[in-house]
């Protein structure tokens, strides 16, 4: 073709584009809001045709730098609502599975390669809290808040990326995944709190216990048959009392007080309470009945016991003076901490692991601590932005020759 023909074609195209632009600018005024705003499909919609669940097949991957020499690392930049470390078998590499806030999408991170893969792209709108079973096959999600809450069991399939949902119609206060790959639920009734076990395979419930008050906090054990702890929700202005539930037996422990909250395992209980306008933390040895100062002052919700080493707990603590309105002010969000991680043990003195603010330069208000396989990794969530973090408690040293 000759050059003039190319030029003429180009001018025609430019002219057509100009006409389209002029038309769009002056004659194509949006008639309604649907034309003005894009539908981002993020839930809370008033569209009655929207079924609340959608599948997005955009299977993007990212990589977390696990080869970094830093022992403290941020694993996600997006807010999460639940996570677990799981291995397909004893010899396989541990994976971290987490559920994304808002969407309920599930991702896994390989702890060696750092590769992140999306496992479930099924959206559960307004996902607020999640628990994943240790085998990584089931996830329970709370969608929405208050009386509008829905509780959904999602069956995960890491291989196919498919997932299916099932709703549970119970007034659930809180829930936890157990070692048996079941879910432990606290259900509110008219004048009591009922502890139940839900088996997602058989879709069956079993009642574990009933405690005669409604505003209850439950500290679930790792397995169904472990000790679970219950107490009236705490406040610095009213007294709380600790009950241990094991099997069919509920026992009142000699632990009570204003602002009292607690976590425990089979051997000990870590609890804090207001005492003479001072907030203090204690360790109760269940066998001997002895009570000792823990060595640190912390809110027990910032502690977690090891599955493998019963006398070991990991706690987060901030070097600030905790006032008389603790823990209420922390619950309400008025107060936030920049925490350090500590090892608390009945066999050895309390030991500082890491000052997270000094190491990361970030203020990390630590919650939801979990210990990984062999207690090597400590995972936790920053309450300030709900991001997932890792601290390598025992770091593998690679020798380069």
């Amino acid at each position: 073709m000759k050059r003039p023909i190319f030029i003429i074609i180009g001018i025609v195209i430019v002219f057509i584009l100009l006409l389209v632009w002029v038309y769009m600018l002056f004659f194509n005024t949006p008639q309604n809001n649907d034309e003005t705003f894009a539908d981002l499909d993020i839930g809370d919609t008033t569209d009655t045709n929207y079924d609340g669940i959608s599948i997005d097949n955009n299977n993007e991957e990212s990589v977390v730098d696990f080869s970094s020499p830093e022992r403290l690392r941020q694993l996600t930049t997006k807010p999460i609502i639940g996570f677990t470390e799981f291995s397909e078998n004893a010899s396989s590499t541990p994976q971290i599975m987490y559920a994304e806030a808002g969407t309920g999408h599930v991702y896994s991170i390989d702890t060696v390669s750092g590769e992140e893969v999306r496992i479930s792209a099924v959206t559960i709108p307004s996902s607020q809290a999640a628990e994943i079973t240790p085998d990584g096959k089931f996830m329970m999600v709370r969608s929405g808040e208050g009386i509008a809450s829905k509780f959904i069991i999602q069956t995960l399939n890491a291989t196919s990326g498919e997932a299916s949902n099932q709703e549970i119609n119970e007034s659930i206060l809180n829930f936890s995944a157990s070692e048996e790959n079941k879910f432990l639920l606290a259900v509110k009734t008219n004048n009591a709190t009922v502890g139940k076990v839900y088996d997602p395979i058989n879709n069956s419930f079993q009642t574990l216990f009933t405690i005669p008050f409604r505003d209850a906090t439950i500290d679930w054990g790792y397995s169904v048959n472990d000790s679970h702890y219950a107490y009236p929700k705490t406040t610095s202005q009213l007294e709380s009392f600790l009950f241990e539930i094991k099997g069919n037996k509920t026992t009142r422990l000699p632990i009570d007080g204003y602002g009292m909250s607690a976590v425990g395992d089979e051997q000990m209980v870590i609890y804090s309470k207001q005492s003479n306008l001072k907030y203090e933390t204690f360790i109760y040895n269940k066998e001997s009945g002895s009570v000792n100062f823990s060595g640190i002052v912390t809110i027990p919700e910032k502690c977690q016991f090891s599955r493998n080493t019963p006398e070991l707990a990991i706690c987060a603590q901030s070097f600030v003076d905790l006032g008389p309105d603790i823990p209420d002010s922390w619950y309400a969000g008025d107060l936030s901490f920049a925490d350090s991680l500590w090892e608390v043990s009945t066999l050895s003195p309390t030991k500082l692991l890491v000052d997270t603010e000094e190491d990361s330069g970030r203020e990390i208000d630590i919650i939801n601590i979990e210990l990984g396989k062999d207690d090597a990794n400590i995972y936790f969530v920053n309450k300030n932005d709900n991001t997932l973090w890792l601290y390598e408690r025992t770091q593998e040293v690679t020798t380069i020759e």
Binding site: I42, G43, D44, P79, A101, G102, T103, S126, Q128, G144, E145, G146, S149, N191, P212, F213, R214, D215, T217, P232, K233, T234, T235, Q237, L238, E239, F241, K249, T250, T251, R252, P254, D256, G289, E301, P327, D328, Y331, A332, G333, D334, S336, K383, N384, N386
Partner: protein, 320 residues
């Protein structure tokens, strides 16, 4: 008339004599007993046992204390001793033996059976769902209280409960098996709830008193993200409107749940101008950026018109 006077005099003097006789009896025969402090201890609690002998009838006596038959040497010739209450539901016998100089012997005993009597106070007031703590009562709100008598597990229902709020006995008196009670929070910043638990024979098993605070409802503001839900950190004094709009939730902590669910007044104001409620939650407002940058004062007011102390009024600054 004279006869009437003599009759009245005789009748009055008879009554005076009876009164004097009673007074004299109580002075000459005081109770010689062991008094425990606290009267109904919890398991593991330190209990002080005092020997009460106001008559001096045991003057110069040797005093020997024993717990479950084991002598307490350090309490020898002491008028009080301290013991640690045992395990829950296990009875301990504390004994004091008085050997008088005249060769007499007086033995006094007292049993200690520690139980836990806990009162769980559950105010029916509002706190947000993400808040892990318990709500507090405010004037006019309902409070539910549950008594938990724990020995080995929770105790059987054949107990009689007597509840008293400040000076007022609730439910008209003792009621068998009624371990739960509801009452309305009275005026003032504090109230006292007293409970006595007895068995069917009238023996007191435990007593407990708790002081319950009454607070004013307080509003905190939280930003709502359409995707992630309500932020768990309140807006302190001001918030920056970064995008085109912001949704703010007002959370009236400790407001009576009935008022929260059906408030007489729930009003948002921007720079003093009321914002009409366009449906949806009265506790949420969405603000949209219009015009040039600046600041606005956002106020929220919620109140019950019948119980005016059931309400709160608070504001934040919006920078846009």
């Amino acid at each position: 008339m004279r006869l009437l006077f003599i009759f009245t005099l005789l009748f009055t003097s008879l009554h005076i004599n009876v009164a004097f006789a009673q007074l004299s009896s109580s002075i000459t025969n005081p109770e010689l007993a062991i008094e425990l402090q606290p009267e109904f201890p919890r398991p593991g609690e330190i209990v002080t046992a005092n020997l009460n002998d106001y008559s001096g009838g045991t003057y110069g006596a040797n005093v020997n204390w024993a717990l479950d038959g084991q002598q307490i040497p350090e309490a020898s010739n002491q008028r009080s001793t301290k013991v640690t209450a045992g395990a829950v539901g296990v009875t301990q016998k504390i004994e004091v033996v008085l050997d008088t100089p005249q060769g007499g012997k007086v033995v006094l005993t007292k049993n200690i059976t520690p139980v836990y009597l806990d009162i769980v106070v559950e105010p029916q007031t509002r706190v947000p769902n993400f808040y892990l703590g318990r709500a507090l009562p405010s004037v006019g709100s309902t409070v539910n209280a549950t008594a938990l008598v724990s020995s080995d597990g929770f105790m059987n229902p054949d107990l009689v409960y007597t509840w008293r709020l400040n000076q007022k006995v609730l439910n008209g008196g003792p009621i068998r098996g009624l371990n739960q009670v509801s009452f309305t929070t009275p005026m003032g910043t504090e109230m006292s709830l007293h409970l006595q638990v007895t068995d069917l024979q009238g023996n007191v098993i435990a007593k407990r008193s708790v002081s319950i605070p009454s607070v004013s409802p307080k509003i905190r503001f939280y930003e709502i993200n359409q995707l992630f839900g309500t932020s768990h950190r309140p807006i302190s004094d001001s918030v920056a409107l970064i995008g085109n709009s912001i949704t703010v939730q007002a959370e009236p902590f400790n407001l009576d749940s009935r008022v929260y669910n059906d408030p007489d007044i729930s009003e948002w104001k921007i720079n003093g101008s009321s914002s009409g409620n366009i449906g949806g939650s009265p506790y949420e407002v969405t603000l949209q950026r219009v015009g040039v940058s600046g600041t606005s004062r956002l106020l929220f007011h919620v109140r019950d018109t019948k119980q005016v102390l059931q309400g709160a009024n608070e504001g934040i600054q919006i920078n846009f």
